[in-house]
């Protein structure tokens, strides 16, 4: 299958590229990788990275080395909802490990794994800047904060029902953490 942005995504990509001075288009690489990950099933397969290289007229290796450096880019398939749970100090102090345990028991997978139905992935991540509303996790663009095991149950149920793939471009409810 040929990898290509659809018209809308291509328009966004070109708008991003136009921000940078002539000859500095490589600056668009991280934003375009985010766009590509959202457009192509939540991860960056080699043909996807090659496509981005072509768009920016850079070598494929320049894309691979960047994609593999940053923790938000997935180089393997992931579930429709990637649950990124913070386990750093402030969250740890307020029960992050209990939240991870609860998720693992509930979804019958370990952190780092994806459920058999392809719906959920649990990912342990470092501080997400939500330390004052710990414990927390992020799913797509949405932060879920001040978590309790009951809250986690409701969130997972709702995500499960929606069945949609979550991305960092999703619209976010800003009241969730207030």
């Amino acid at each position: 299958m040929e990898v290509k942005f659809d018209e809308a995504a291509l328009k966004t990509a070109n708008k991003i590229i136009s921000r940078y001075p002539e000859g500095k288009k490589k600056s668009a690489l991280l934003p375009l990788l985010h766009l590509a990950q959202a457009e192509f099933d939540g991860w960056l397969d080699v043909p996807v990275m090659d496509y981005i290289a072509t768009l920016l007229a850079i070598k494929a290796i320049e894309v691979y080395e960047v994609a593999s450096f940053y923790s938000m880019f997935n180089l393997k398939p992931v579930g429709k909802c990637v649950i990124e749970v913070c386990h750093t100090s402030s969250c740890w102090l307020r029960g992050a490990e209990e939240i991870i345990q609860h998720l693992e028991n509930k979804l019958h997978i370990k952190a780092g794994e994806t459920t058999a139905d392809g719906k959920f992935t649990i990912k342990r991540v470092e501080c997400l800047g939500s330390c004052g509303t710990a414990p927390m996790f992020q799913v797509g663009a949405q932060y879920y904060e001040n978590l309790t095991t009951e809250k986690v149950d409701t969130i997972i149920e709702n995500l499960d029902k929606s069945g949609k793939r979550t991305t960092y471009f999703d619209e976010v409810s800003l009241t969730a953490h207030k």
């Binding site: 450096f69 940053y70 102090l93 991540v125 004052g132 960092y168």
Partner: protein
């Protein structure tokens, strides 16, 4: 009455909208700067204000600005560091989400002072949801004539862009940030040259933290001398503190520097509201994960027996033996139930994960420190491991390209220095 400069409109509904922001005095500083001041006069006001970088290092902002090279015909850049990934720090997020126009106005004033016609806000990728908030504010400011060409009828032009990162703490280090902004891995650069001479695309660049840039707005409004009257000594102005951990009221608080004691900050209802569950205080990391952790007696009092205050100098009193640092203002509180070795493990894992891997002392050392603390907290530690940890951190500190090495070493040094008993408790 406490002095509020950055969060003075925190209670105002819809302050994220330009018209509301303007009703509360917004964009008056931008107008004043662009219409009535020269760039040099603006840099002077910031120098007089005594403002120090709020990103962690505390370097005087006016001085940093005056280092900017100005070769003719070469563009200059202002880059806002919104990477905010230091564990325990979430004030930039708060500011950007709720007060986007304060940052945009600060970017306008600062860019004007530096003679920059393009500015970037480099925001950590995890804060994706804030991008549309900032972009909306930029759009509104542009429509109102504060951005774009011929701002407010003058010949000054400025474009601002928001750039997202990809998830990497190291990209908060300013040269790694610039590499990342150029579409590369976040590997810190060797210095010199400093960004002021060769920064983004090899052009003169200033990188400043979100809160630093926002603070330029009140400085322009009141003048540098007036700003310098707020605070104490070389700790001028106000600082946003991100308070988290075992307290009743975690959150972002604006304090006047040097006027609030650590004890008051922890216990007063105006701030943290006391240690949670009626428990006793055990330790505080006062300025984000990278600064030395202190036990109760040392965080509440300096070595000469005076109350420790929330200021750069007072927090630093006693150096590495009995003091700590203001850092980013990430204030993490731990109650009496915490074993500090266990907390240290979360930091060591963090720094190992975030090391860019360029220098072997950092890459290997952080890995070893993570492994050893993991072994200790899982009950497999040996008595000699404590000294090994100490030894390892001395082999990183000061021997690396960028300060992440030190940032990883100091938490280990201070945990071993002040909480040796906690390690011993876990070693049988």
């Amino acid at each position: 009455m406490s002095t509020k400069l950055l969060l003075k409109n925190d209670h105002v509904a819809n302050i994220n909208k330009l018209e509301v922001y303007k009703q509360h005095g917004g964009y008056a500083s931008a107008e004043k700067a662009i219409k009535t001041m020269t760039s040099d006069a603006l840099v002077d006001e910031v120098k007089k204000s005594g403002l120090r970088g709020r990103g962690g290092a505390g370097f005087p902002t006016g001085m940093k600005w005056s280092f900017l090279a100005k070769p003719a015909g070469v563009p200059r850049y202002l880059v806002c560091n919104a990477d905010e990934s230091e564990p325990g720090t979430f004030k930039d997020r708060y500011l950007m989400e709720r007060h986007p126009h304060l940052l945009i106005e600060g970017m306008i004033c600062s860019s004007f002072a530096l003679g920059a016609n393009t500015g970037f806000i480099y925001i950590r990728g995890e804060y994706f949801y804030i991008v549309p908030i900032l972009e909306k504010a930029i759009e509104e400011a542009k429509a109102a004539g504060y951005l774009g060409n011929n701002i407010l009828g003058t010949d000054y032009n400025l474009e601002l862009h928001v750039q997202v990162g990809g998830g990497a703490y190291i990209c908060g280090e300013e040269t790694a940030l610039l590499e990342s902004l150029e579409g590369k891995r976040g590997n810190p650069r060797m210095k010199p040259p400093f960004p002021a001479v060769a920064g983004l695309y090899g052009c003169p660049t200033v990188v400043n933290n979100v809160e630093t840039i926002a603070a330029v707005v009140p400085i322009v409004a009141m003048g540098g001398d007036e700003y310098a009257k707020i605070g104490v000594g070389k700790s001028t102005g106000t600082k946003l503190i991100s308070a988290s951990g075992h307290i009743n009221k975690p959150g972002v608080y604006e304090i006047e520097l040097g006027k609030v004691s650590v004890e008051e900050f922890i216990n007063s209802e105006e701030y943290c509201g006391g240690v949670w569950k009626g428990r006793k205080l055990k330790a505080v990391v006062a300025g984000g994960s990278s600064v030395p952790i202190l036990p109760t007696n040392l965080i509440l009092q300096t070595s000469d027996g005076n109350p420790r205050m929330m200021s750069y100098e007072s927090l630093g009193e006693g150096g590495f033996i009995s003091g700590t640092m203001m850092g980013s203002g990430g204030f993490i509180v731990m109650d009496e139930t915490v074993n500090i070795a266990e907390n240290l493990y979360t930091f060591n894992r963090f720094y190992h994960h975030e090391s860019c891997g360029q220098c072997s002392p950092c890459r290997e050392g952080t890995g070893w420190m993570e492994k050893i603390t993991h072994s200790i907290i899982s009950g497999h530690g040996k008595p000699s491991d404590i000294d090994l940890l100490w030894d390892l951190q001395t082999k990183i500190d000061g021997k690396t390209i960028c300060p992440l090495g030190e940032a990883a070493a100091w938490p280990v040094a201070s945990a071993v220095r002040h909480f040796r008993a906690d390690f011993e408790k876990l070693i049988h």
